[in-house]
């Protein structure tokens, strides 16, 4: 359902308003609000999942809602609701010497960066807000938005930990964009299109048509992309920008309440985006693993979301099992390992396509 299609539908449904500017605004606003809901629900679910997964990894039970007084529901299901309420009701602190305008603006810049990337994610054959010709390139391009927000947040807080965190994360995201982009180039070489739907159409025909299984090189490309994706979302083992033991909280040290929760929302939205790109590029997108079955619109949403959730689970798994890397190790992995592997992969996929394609 693109904005254009929605605009036409609105024009037909409300003929007395047809051609009016209100309908344009509506056609833009409705998908935006829907996406905001998706991002918010995504954060709610993932925060709960993160608590539970981390607990099980560490042989704990996690939030259970036991005891008297405030009750977090069965199995602690209401824990994230309680978290959200706490964040909303928290005092909003802005340091006196912080750069007020930029301090207020930074979380929104980061959030916008995550938000505008989500509009290109295809949840089904027709369930996509904007199926652009340059879909996958668009997502890579707008992810640079978040970097500016991170640096601004780190700088405007007027705090050395924040500045260090902002610098580190900017350096990290810019570096890891390169192996991520290069491994997606192998996908583009196979599919010969940049459109998200085009890439998914190429992979129709069940489990073994998915790009991840189409050649050994594309499997390696998937691994490289996934490692780079974890680094791009600033999660452990690549979370030196917010390393608690060194930098207090990194770029968001000085943030509290709702402003802080915007960082949180965008972190989980970014996870959704990078996993969505991985699913689209390598795991067949919304296609069902069994050709010809379970491929209605409802099922396509189910497949897309469950594949994303699986990758998110792997990300959490990695987070709670590996220790954090040092800065120099982080850069070593990117420039000395991932980048040469990704370059070699491009060559390999080229040869593979030449011989078997």
């Amino acid at each position: 359902m693109t904005v254009d299609a929605l605009y036409h539908w609105l024009n037909e449904t409300f003929p007395f308003l047809s051609g009016n500017e209100i309908l344009i605004v509506l056609a833009i606003l409705i998908p935006s609000v829907a996406l905001f809901m998706v991002i918010a629900v995504n954060a709610l679910v993932l925060v709960y999942a993160e608590r539970k997964v981390s607990a099980f990894m560490q042989d704990r039970v996690g939030p259970m809602g036991q005891g008297v007084g405030l009750h977090a529901g069965k199995w602690g299901l209401l824990q994230t609701v309680a978290d959200a309420l706490k964040l909303i009701s928290k005092e909003d602190i802005i340091p006196r010497l912080a750069d007020r305008k930029l301090f207020i603006m930074a979380p929104f810049v980061i959030f916008v960066g995550a938000f505008i990337a989500v509009i290109a994610l295809p949840f089904g054959e027709t369930i996509i807000i904007a199926d652009m010709n340059i879909g996958i390139f668009y997502i890579l391009a707008v992810s640079s938005f978040g970097v500016i927000g991170l640096i601004l947040a780190g700088w405007s807080s007027n705090n050395k930990w924040s500045l260090y965190g902002g610098m580190r994360s900017a350096a990290q995201i810019i570096s890891y964009e390169i192996p991520a982009g290069l491994s997606l180039i192998t996908v583009i070489m196979l599919t010969e299109t940049l459109s998200m739907q085009g890439i998914i159409q190429y992979q129709s025909g069940g489990l073994f048509s998915w790009i991840v299984f189409s050649s050994p090189f594309s499997f390696i490309a998937f691994i490289v992309y996934f490692i780079a994706a974890i680094a791009e979302t600033n999660r452990t083992p690549f979370d030196i920008p917010e390393a608690e033991s060194e930098l207090v909280g990194g770029f968001h040290t000085e943030y509290s309440g709702m402003r802080w929760s915007f960082f949180f929302l965008s972190e989980y939205a970014n996870m959704l985006v990078v996993c969505g790109v991985a699913v689209t590029g390598f795991l067949g997108g919304w296609q069902s693993p069994i050709p010809g079955y379970f491929n209605t619109a409802g099922w396509s949403i189910f497949w897309f979301i469950s594949k994303i959730l699986f990758l998110v689970f792997v990300m959490m798994w990695v987070r709670w099992t590996f220790p954090r890397l040092r800065v120099d190790q982080l850069m070593d992995i990117c420039w000395k390992y991932l980048l040469p592997i990704a370059l070699f992969n491009i060559f390999g996929v080229g040869i593979w396509t030449l011989i078997f394609g």
Binding site: L102, I134, I148, I151
Partner: protein
């Protein structure tokens, strides 16, 4: 539909470009530049140049603007000092800009514009790719050599001397 969006994007570009020039502090200029570059990318979209818009965002916002912001922050004492951005020679500059505006407006008014509604191109990226690999292969390779030279130069400059 697209006319409304065009004016929004154009307004975003012009207003933020004004902020780049007139804001007193360098860091605000850099932030305003973010929106200017984004607006220019939007204008590319209206010219059916979607790939160019993506490149604009990736190179100018993801690369150059990040470098500018990095530079401002690293040369900036965290507390107290404000790097202010001043416009010297306001009168001469304003006069030159005004004269240029008059020339532009008169040129736009007198020119006989060739108007045509171009249909949306089906494939932009594919066309660009084919052209780069056939007609413009030599400039493309020359640019890649230039970039390689710049890359090696940057590595040379930043390495430790011992």
């Amino acid at each position: 539909m697209s006319e409304f969006a065009f004016w929004m994007v154009a307004a975003l570009t012009i207003i933020s470009a004004g902020l780049v020039v007139f804001s007193g502090q360098l860091i605000y200029s850099a932030v305003a530049l973010l929106f200017t570059l984004l607006g220019v990318a939007g204008l590319y979209v209206f010219l059916w140049a979607d790939f160019m818009a993506g490149v604009q965002v990736m190179v100018y916002i993801g690369g150059i603007l990040v470098l500018i912001v990095f530079g401002i922050m690293l040369t900036h004492k965290i507390v107290s000092v404000k790097i202010s951005q001043t416009n010297v020679q306001r009168r001469i500059g304003g006069f030159a800009a005004g004269l240029f505006l008059v020339i532009l407006i008169s040129a736009m008014g007198s020119a006989s514009w060739f108007m045509e509604v171009t249909p949306e191109p089906v494939e932009t990226v594919r066309t660009i790719g084919i052209l780069l690999m056939t007609k413009y292969l030599l400039p493309f390779e020359a640019a890649s050599l230039l970039l390689l030279g710049a890359l090696i130069g940057a590595a040379m400059l930043s390495r430790k001397e011992n």
